[in-house]
Structure formats: structure tokens, C-alpha cells
Subunit: 377 residues, 2 copies
């Protein structure tokens, strides 16, 4: 019996998401709590992505709020799985993380788990996984990662005894039965993937074990099984149980649940050319009607619209997004207008990122004590 | 089906040895080769423990000899599992390793795997396993470990990205099925123990991956399953397959196959008091007859005698051991004489070790870049 799977017609695990995700059922099945306006107010962080419920579920956020009110500090853990190029859902999450860090004066730990990707993807070479990890870190720096109160780990490049020691301590508390129940790997799977949850839990619990700070983990909801393992272990090691803020998936361009990092048509990548971005957005799935006159008459459906969502999450203020929502429903907005607006904004954003990325390359030594050039051939 | 088990009435795995071990059957079952006089001569290292066949089996020693003749160098890997106090079988093996290193100008890598012990022993605390690792290292230094051409790793205290990275690379090549077949752990076992063979293989292959030297692993034969995993992986990573020199077990004081580190009556520990050593040896199992007069008449049996073996392996020259063997058979030696001799020698040895150990404590920083005091409370 695999947790996180068999939820009617969809399944969500850290390693695959299929079917049409029912986010409410996920909350119930995973044992999460929904975020509501009262909690956001209590948190004192009325971020657009919380108000729009892109971050829609949590574990123990109330406890983090309480701890922060008493101690003025907590830790954020938010990592990257390492892929050839990050896509804009990663950007969205990481921008949120950086604003969160700034708002709360938090310690930020960014573990990059290219080992997990390497274990999980049969065809991925070790050297490529490492290269992706470094390139992804350069992107995070370009997005705004700063060295103040921040630590970065690239598992196979900067692993140290503190993390491995913690992972070993944790691994003894996790039986193979537990891994089978939570992740459902068959025996043909390599032992790296079976052990990885101990590394992941060590990432999550590192600020707690080393700095005595409770961790708030910022992830998309598919990563929640790792939280369950880490929370169970934390309790048994007498550490703060880590809390989590969990997001929905950013819709894929073709209307899928989730941008699929392995399908180039599904996502906008950080290195997409302006022409490619135009083509992708122009073909994107919207909530529009078949013809403009129908759209004028019956209105569109922003709830299922990729273009509405990208504009709202990425570029619009909350007010702008709400206005567009109403105008779309009323038939006062045509898909072409939204698409053109998104194309222009996205092209500009990616162009700026490219520029920042050039400067970010040298700043990698703020975070790593290794010569990256030998890994970037 | 568990390899290394089900050999008639005994079983040998890295985690347990039971029954009366048939060393020839082990050679056959594990696919080892026996060491013969010709190979020892070819090796150019007529060490007593080889000539007496304490080290009795090997894998690819001939290839190491060939490589050494061409390149004047190879690597030795010989670790410690970390236990509260090392016993004299550990001393014996490690003295051999140091002489081997000296003779061949070899690079020596000494991984201390307190993580493995911690995973394998339900009742062992993490902090204790770490403390044992440090204390064991102090013993190895007292035995003669020098910093020249030597590296030490204590898994949870000095793990680094080179070892973890190599372990990750290796882990992807090992399925859970393989681990089940080689080690036979049930699903109730923790994931640390399931993953550990990748760490062990990384220990074994580290000199090859990092320094391009083939490894000769010096171990007791129960550790051979780790060799099989490492050799299989080496081939798939296009690395030299590691070679091995494998020893029998030093008999337990009560006549068992193997000194049992967890039974204080079975072994002489490095910290045993002179009185305790006297008592233990006085009660030791010998090959003697029930009465002195019978012994004089029919002779003793050194082949099954613990006291003969300890004197021979530890203190006697080859010539002395051979003489004693003959005299014992002829009834010209009485167990009491051998015991008294062993008691005196062993007490003296342990006393000297204690003295050396005091000086060794400060030399630990030749090998470790951590403050050990916080781990030794």
C-alpha cells in the first residue's frame, strides 16, 4: 500500500504526478491543514501567493508563528532537485522563499539534491546531475539568494560529516518497511533511492540539529511524503517537528496539473529564447471560448487558464489579478490580449535573469568552497 | 537465498558467524583462491601470518603483484568497524597491515565505519559509536599508524563529498534485490544497513577513484560479501576490481571459531588488566589432555589450541612456533607452560600498548581535523 497514491483518479508522489489532482483530497490524505485568511494574518506575511492560495496547505505553521513571536527567529529549508534548467515554477517558489527569509530574518538552508535525481532517473549520468546542481545554484543566486544567514549544500559536491552524520542517525530510525509504505519502490530500485529519505530528512532537520531552530520547509505538495518521514523521525530524536508550507503545482502550458521538467512543451525554462517563449505562450491552454464573439458573449474561465495563472502569480498585483478575473468572466478580456501581455513580461523577465545570471556565476564562491570549473565541462 | 550462509552447519556473514567454520568450503562458496607458498614468494612478503596461513585466501593478489612490479605502488584499504575496545585479533590484523604498507611503500586508507556498527546493533547509541571510533583510532595510532601516505576516515565525523559522492555513484548501481541476495536483511531492518554496502564499496574504491591505484583490501573472511559488492560495482564503473587478502578468525579463548567482541570471556581486549588477562588465559581452551601424565604419553593437539595459536601468531617466530608444534605433539610441552608464557607476553604487550596509547592521543590530529574532546565525554 503506497501512501499518496490511489486517490481516485490521480496519484502524487515525490517521483510522479499523474491524473487530475484534487488538492482538497491531497490535504485530507496527507494529513495537511488548509491555509486560511486568519492564519495568514496571524503569520503577518500577506504574500500574494498565500492570498491566492498557490501556497494552500501547511503543517504546523501555527507553531512556527508562535515560536517566531517568542524568539524572533526560525529556519527555512527549501531545496532544489537539480535539473538541466530550472523552469518558472522553481523561480516562483524560490522568490517566495527569499521574501519569506527577508521578512522574518530567518536562517535559510538550501540543499541541492542532485543525488536524488541521479538515483531516480535511470538515464541521468552522475556528472550531468552534478553539473545541473551547480547551474541551478547559479540560477538561485541570480534570483536573489544572498550569503547572509544562508547555507547551501550540494549533496555529492559539498557533503560533510554534519549532514551525513545526521542522516546516519536518522537512517537507523527508518525501516525498509516504512520506505516501502511511504514510497512504494520495488526491489529492482537502487539502494540510493531507498536511503535518500534519510538524507532528505537530514536536510530538513539540519537547522534544528545544528542551530536549535525549528524548520519551516517550503515545497510543492508532492514532496510531502519526505515531510512525513522527517517529522516521524524528528519526534523520535526529540527535535522540533519540522513545519511546512506546501504549494499547488503551477499549471503546465498545455493545461496539465504540473509543469513537467522533462517535457519541454509543458514548461517555460529559464533559458528559453524570446521566440520560443512567444511560441509556447501563444499555444498555451487557456479558459477561453472557441471564438472571440462567444468569448465576448459568455466570458472565459480563468480558473482553468494557464495564462491567467502565470500573469497572476508572476507579474500582476493581487488587485490586478482580481480585476482580470472579473473582466475575463464578463467577456471583457480576450485570450490574445492576456497572451501578448504575458509574452512581453516573460521575455523581459527572462532577459533580465540572463543578465543577472552572468554576474551570479562569480558569486557562487560565496556558497561553495570547491572549484566549479572542473564540473562544468 | 543468502550468499555466505547455508554452508552445511555454519554460517558466515559480515554480521554474524555461527557454527564450526569450514574455511575450505568458504573459499569455494565465496569464490576465493587459496594462498600458497609460490604466491607468497612471488609477492615477496614472506610474513609469518601468510606462511602460517592466518591470511589464507585472496582475490586477485596476483594482479596486485603484477601491478606493483610495473608501477612500484598500490593501495591498501583496511578499516575498523568501531567497538568499545579493540581486541587482539584487531591488533594482529592491523600490525600486519602496517608491515605490508611499509614493505610496499603503499598508500593506506583506514575507514572507520562506526555508522555500520550503529546500523547493525539495535542497542548501540550514536554517540557511543562515535566515541568508539575515536578511541579505536587512538589504538591504531598506538599500534603504529603513521601519517605518511595514510588517510583516515571516520564516517560520521569526517565524511566528505569525495566519499559520499563515490558512494552515491555506486549506490545507483546496486539494487535492493542485490542487497537482499548478498546480505539477506529483512524489511524490518533499517535503511542505513541496506545502504551501507555503498559506503563500504566507496571506502574500498576510494584510492582507485581518487588516486588511480588498485586497492588490496585486508580483512577477515567474514567481510568478503562487501568485496563481492565492491568488485561487481568496480567493473561497472570501469575501475580496477579491488583485490583482497583474507584471514581466518583468531580463535576465541573458549575455543570458538572467532573472538567475539561482544563476549568479554571470548577475547582479550586491549584494555584488559594484567589480572584479568591471567584469569582469561588460564581458563583458555587448549588442545591438551585431561591429565599431565596423559599429555606426556599421548601429546597435545596444537591444531585446536587457542594458546598455541596466540603464542604463534602474536609472539613466536615461525621457527619457534614450529618447534612448539612438534614438542606439543610429542608430549614434551604441558599446557601450563604455554599458558604461563602467553600470560607473561600478553601482559607485557598490553602494558606497552597502554603506554603508547597515552602518547597516541595527541597524534590523533595528524589524522583528524576535528576537536575530539566534545565527542569523548
Amino acid at each position: 500500500m503506497v501512501e499518496g497514491i490511489l486517490l481516485g483518479e490521480f496519484e502524487v508522489t515525490p517521483y510522479s504526478v499523474t491524473g487530475r489532482v484534487d488538492y482538497d483530497k491531497l490535504v485530507e490524505k496527507f494529513g495537511l491543514a488548509l491555509i486560511d485568511d486568519e492564519l495568514i494574518e496571524e503569520f503577518g506575511f500577506p504574500h500574494k501567493l498565500l492570498l491566492l492560495r498557490y501556497f494552500y496547505a501547511h503543517r504546523d505553521l501555527d507553531k512556527i508563528i508562535k515560536y517566531y513571536k517568542e524568539h524572533g527567529r526560525f529556519a527555512i529549508v527549501s531545496g532544489r532537485g537539480a535539473s538541466e534548467h530550472i523552469h518558472i515554477a522553481h523561480v516562483l517558489l524560490f522568490r517566495f522563499v527569499l521574501e519569506l527569509q527577508k521578512r522574518f530574518n530567518a536562517f535559510l538552508f538550501v540543499p541541492i539534491s542532485e543525488d536524488e535525481k541521479y538515483f531516480a532517473k535511470q538515464e541521468l549520468y552522475f556528472e550531468d546531475a552534478r553539473r545541473f546542481a551547480i547551474e541551478n545554484l547559479i540560477d538561485l543566486i541570480a534570483i536573489g539568494l544572498g550569503k547572509k544567514d544562508t547555507e547551501v549544500l550540494i549533496d555529492t559536491l559539498t557533503m560533510n560529516a554534519k549532514i551525513y552524520g545526521l542522516a546516519a542517525k536518522i537512517a537507523k530510525k527508518i525501516t525498509l518497511n516504512t520506505i516501502k509504505a511511504v514510497y512504494g519502490f520495488p526491489n529492482e530500485t537502487n539502494i540510493g533511492l531507498h536511503f535518500y529519505p534519510a538524507i532528505q530528512a537530514a536536510h530538513i532537520l539540519y537547522p534544528t540539529a545544528e542551530k536549535d531552530l525549528p524548520s519551516l520547509v517550503v515545497i510543492s505538495v508532492d514532496q510531502d511524503p519526505h515531510m512525513r518521514v522527517a517529522r516521524d523521525v524528528a519526534a523520535r530524536l526529540s527535535l522540533f517537528k519540522p513545519a511546512a508550507l506546501e504549494s499547488r503545482f503551477l499549471k503546465g502550458l498545455l493545461g496539465e496539473n504540473k509543469m513537467d521538467a522533462s517535457n519541454p512543451q509543458s514548461a517555460i525554462y529559464i533559458n528559453d529564447s524570446p521566440n520560443l517563449v512567444r511560441r509556447k505562450i501563444w499555444r498555451a491552454f487557456t479558459g477561453g471560448q472557441p471564438t472571440i464573439s462567444e468569448q465576448r458573449k459568455r466570458g472565459g474561465n480563468p480558473d482553468i487558464c494557464t495564462v491567467y495563472e502565470y500573469n497572476a502569480f508572476f507579474f500582476d498585483t493581487l488587485e490586478q489579478a482580481k480585476n482580470k478575473y472579473i473582466k475575463c468572466r464578463k467577456g471583457e478580456l480576450i485570450c490574445g490580449e492576456c497572451k501578448l501581455e504575458l509574452i512581453e513580461r516573460m521575455q523581459k523577465f527572462l532577459e533580465e535573469h540572463k543578465r543577472k545570471r552572468e554576474k551570479a556565476r562569480d558569486r557562487i564562491y560565496d556558497f561553495l568552497d570547491i572549484d566549479i570549473n572542473s564540473y562544468l565541462s
